[in-house]
Symmetry: C2
């Protein structure tokens, strides 16, 4: 039941091969090895032919970023689904651990997507996972005291905007949330959690801890515990409802 013509199918197939070759080059030989000629060589065609599919080398790299985000999102969703506890705390933990594991297994991709002085964000393919998770977290109706006045007033405007983004992300999933569940205080802690999660993972991937860490995993787990506790989960996770 493919609506596509023969030609469209061939084109889509070639495009898939291009992305695949680009990805393999990035993984195996680094960012600088992702070159038009190398990709073309892999497909058995010549470099100018690639211009029938992408406007420039840069455009191809951007597409590559999007693919990476989508793939990572799929992995994280799988990690999320693999957790059968039904407890939000465990789910958060699973996704955060999944993010770390993915980053360590794909350092080149991580560097390209998360640590390039690129314009905005590669794609919100990525943010969707975290937003969905935040959605579940909110929907779980955890009642934790995070007074709004804990956060400086200058931040209220930005946090309120993020609050709206989160609300929208949640409502897309068909869940409505009482206002007081997702107050600015909690939002603030969510942002702080992202800072710590990203900070630890990036430091580990790039080897920028101030000393040689022989086994970073327990340190990560320890940070995760404190993170969850800050947001409002108890360590032994008896906090669901």
């Amino acid at each position: 039941m493919t609506e596509a013509t023969r030609r469209e199918r061939l084109r889509a197939e070639t495009e898939r091969e291009i992305r695949q070759a680009a990805r393999a080059l990035l993984v195996e030989r680094g960012r600088d090895a992702v070159t038009l000629r190398a990709i073309a060589r892999e497909l058995g065609i010549t470099a100018p032919a690639l211009y029938r599919y992408y406007d420039s080398h840069d455009a191809l790299l951007r597409q590559l970023c999007d693919d990476i985000c989508a793939d990572m999102a799929a992995v994280l969703y799988a990690d999320l689904a693999a957790d059968t506890s039904g407890q939000v705390g465990c789910q958060v933990r699973a996704v955060c651990r999944g993010f770390r594991r993915w980053a360590l297994a794909h350092p080149q991709e991580f560097a390209l997507v998360f640590a390039s002085p690129r314009d905005p964000l590669g794609a919100d393919q990525f943010g969707a996972v975290f937003l969905q998770l935040a959605g579940r977290l909110i929907a779980s109706n955890l009642v934790v005291k995070h007074a709004d006045d804990e956060v400086p007033e200058v931040l209220h405007e930005d946090l309120a905007r993020f609050q709206q983004v989160l609300m929208d992300a949640v409502s897309v999933h068909g869940v409505t949330v009482e206002d007081d569940v997702l107050n600015l205080g909690k939002i603030y802690h969510v942002v702080q959690s992202w800072v710590r999660l990203y900070g630890h993972v990036a430091l580990e991937v790039f080897g920028r801890f101030p000393f040689a860490v022989s086994n970073p995993e327990p340190m990560f787990d320890s940070m995760l515990d404190q993170m969850l506790s800050d947001i409002g989960f108890q360590e032994d996770d008896s906090a669901v409802r």
Copy 2:
């Protein structure tokens, strides 16, 4: 009273110009613009001549990293010296703010030094600043309860090693410290602080916050407050001694 011969002086001068040109290219036109031919063009020589000074393009980039670290360290030392309060909390704050300011003002340098999947650490030129600061922090003899059993036992070995590094860094500055001042609990919080500091700065430099932050500085200051409070400083900094 330069011991150097005329030739050595000339050589040193040329090398200085090479570094300077490389730096300018990085800052003004990005990492990919730091090319041997461009540098040579700037000096009015040809590219192969650079091989008399550096083994390869990669070696030159490594040298560039070291230079960047050294310059940043100088800036942070200046920030540290500019604080005349004499209070350690203010000094920590000054250096952390200085680090953020430097990173935002030098995104290309930051990306090169702190976010490249490079081997170990570019140079410990960089770590020295933080170590010295940590040294002062320790020397200030803040007595805050951070029980060792707060941190998981698996981390003890690594943290103890870092503890030794810190001790050495302090003793170089001619200060001896009682053992109980720098216990593993405090060490752990210092590492966690580095995670948060790095995480926030990197996210800001790379624009990877999950929403548009109109004015990130108060958010940074807020994080700093909580960081210092976690380590054991009171917010209004009456904690010195």
